[in-house]
Symmetry: C2
Subunit: 321 residues, 2 copies
């Protein structure tokens, strides 16, 4: 986790921008602008909508990345938004990760994978890559960390930990997610009086134990939603060596005050994610007009995202002061 | 689930073949045979190993599919094995699903996705596809069902249920997985004396309730490992309207006797998966010789898989008689 913490310290900004393109946040004129180019290239016209979005989403991401590089330390592309376009979208996901890394950003792949041991080893190639013929590893996905689901237990996690150690990367295990119905499973009271998410928290501390970095945090982080401030504060004490990824700030209702308790005494120990609040900021900007060209709206997307990222940084800084 | 059950009844075979290609089950000479062709096509030689496998894995799958179509009702490609090759592998996954459907097989995409509501809706496009410009949905992934992780609770499941209803497809939620350490989370005893996997089982019955089919089973199935025969028998009673996907037969140690209790009184209600036992059967076949050509070994892969699939069908039939 040292690499992420260094990036946070350099930017003085413990936040991460979620790159989650959808038809709600990617301007329609940008998608439309690729129609003819794509129509000339596909074999079957039915493929146009997916291909058109795959191209537009990448241009959207590139504009955001260019606007926020240097302001924020990290981006978190949510692979579901790309899988929603089929294989063409997966290409956009990988290109987005590669471009973000090339601009100096730490890339947190929000993939929430989880499976039995032999299968988890295959997913762990997200971190470890594939051995090339000269013995070097080919980085397939260009992620610095991924999110993982704990429901399968230790043997579904170990391959990711091993790959993280070997490749100087990290993982974040779901502990307490930000969505309303997460309580149905994660908050269940166990026979010994603890809650399920607390038991998972204890496992996460164990899973990371042998990967402690110079920063005092391990390579095995935890996802703890901003929508559970009290639980987050308790988890901070329960998991002293575990770095937190905190989703749910902004659009999902979490505030800077809500997340303050998830940081440690040195205002480290956590990174806060905002997705729609940053990449969709252009929609709340008075400068938007439906008649704008694709280029003009992309410029508005970029400046709005940059302003929103700065506002979030300042909001967190004030709450952590 | 009616479509799957009809396919099972037609083949008299409640089994599904896992299409999980790895370097352990795909013959080396088949991978090698694509080296030159791939080397001529990639920009960067570092990409050769992934591309070469992407092509070889598809040819391997096609040979298996051709060999088992008509014998087994369904295939279950595990997407992790394809993601392990990066975006090129994802293309092979999608092409494999499409080819299997074209040969009349029910395609169960083993993706184990799980996320918050808005993100789950994006993943649910695996079932629902993307609306094309004429209003029809473009089927992006060519799956008839997918597997889903329950850790996020109801709002992570509902989008899949809605997509399944709209597209006449199904989903299977992880309840009790086949791997050894699954007990660390799934078997935890709750304050009310039930086990976590039993609580998840109750949720799965609820999630399916409004999708009951003519067969008496809902569109929301459950993953219950063959390695837990006693729990499986109890879950069969606890989840009377939930169809089971049973992994862990064969290579993971589960026998036909172990899975018999997961079927209902009419010998319906479950489908049993075998992956390595079928697609890797050629390795235990006396006919293999390292000097065989790629074509010859592919023919051996096909006949061995077919023989193993028939043996599994007969094994299950005897145990269910």
């Amino acid at each position: 986790m040292d690499k992420l913490i260094e990036a946070i310290n350099t930017t003085h900004n413990p936040s991460v921008v979620g790159l989650d393109p959808t038809d709600q946040v990617v301007p329609a004129q940008l998608i439309d602008s690729f129609h003819e180019e794509v129509a000339d290239q596909v074999d079957d016209p039915a493929e146009i909508p997916a291909m058109q979005r795959a191209v537009a989403y990448f241009e959207f991401n590139r504009a955001i990345i260019d606007a926020i590089a240097g302001i924020v330390p990290a981006v978190k592309p949510q692979i579901a938004m790309y899988e929603a376009l089929g294989p063409a979208g997966i290409d956009t996901y990988e290109m987005t990760c590669e471009y973000a890394q090339s601009q100096g950003l730490y890339v947190l792949g929000d993939i929430k994978r989880g499976d039995i041991g032999s299968t988890a080893a295959a997913y762990a190639r997200h971190l470890g890559g594939l051995n090339a013929q000269d013995g070097d590893a080919l980085d397939l996905w260009h992620e610095d960390a991924v999110t993982v689901n704990p429901y399968l237990g230790t043997d579904g996690i170990t391959p990711f930990v091993d790959a993280a150690k070997a490749a100087d990367k990290d993982l974040f295990v779901l502990v307490r997610t930000s969505n309303p119905s997460s309580k149905e499973i994660q908050e269940l009271e166990l026979a010994d009086g603890t809650r399920l998410y607390e038991r998972v928290a204890d496992l996460v501390e164990q899973w990371g134990a042998e990967t402690l970095g110079a920063s005092g945090y391990t390579r095995v982080g935890a996802v703890v939603g901003a929508t559970h401030p009290e639980q987050g504060k308790q988890l901070r004490e329960r998991m002293p060596r575990t770095f937190f990824l905190v989703p749910g700030y902004g659009a999902q209702g979490g505030t800077a005050q809500d997340v303050a308790g998830m940081f440690d005494a040195e205002s480290s120990g956590a990174i806060v994610n905002s997705s729609r609040g940053i990449i969709g900021a252009w929609r709340k900007n008075g400068g938007y007009d439906e008649s704008m060209s694709a280029d003009d709206v992309l410029a508005l997307v970029a400046t709005s995202a940059r302003d929103a990222a700065i506002a979030m940084r300042d909001d967190l800084e004030a709450a952590l002061a």
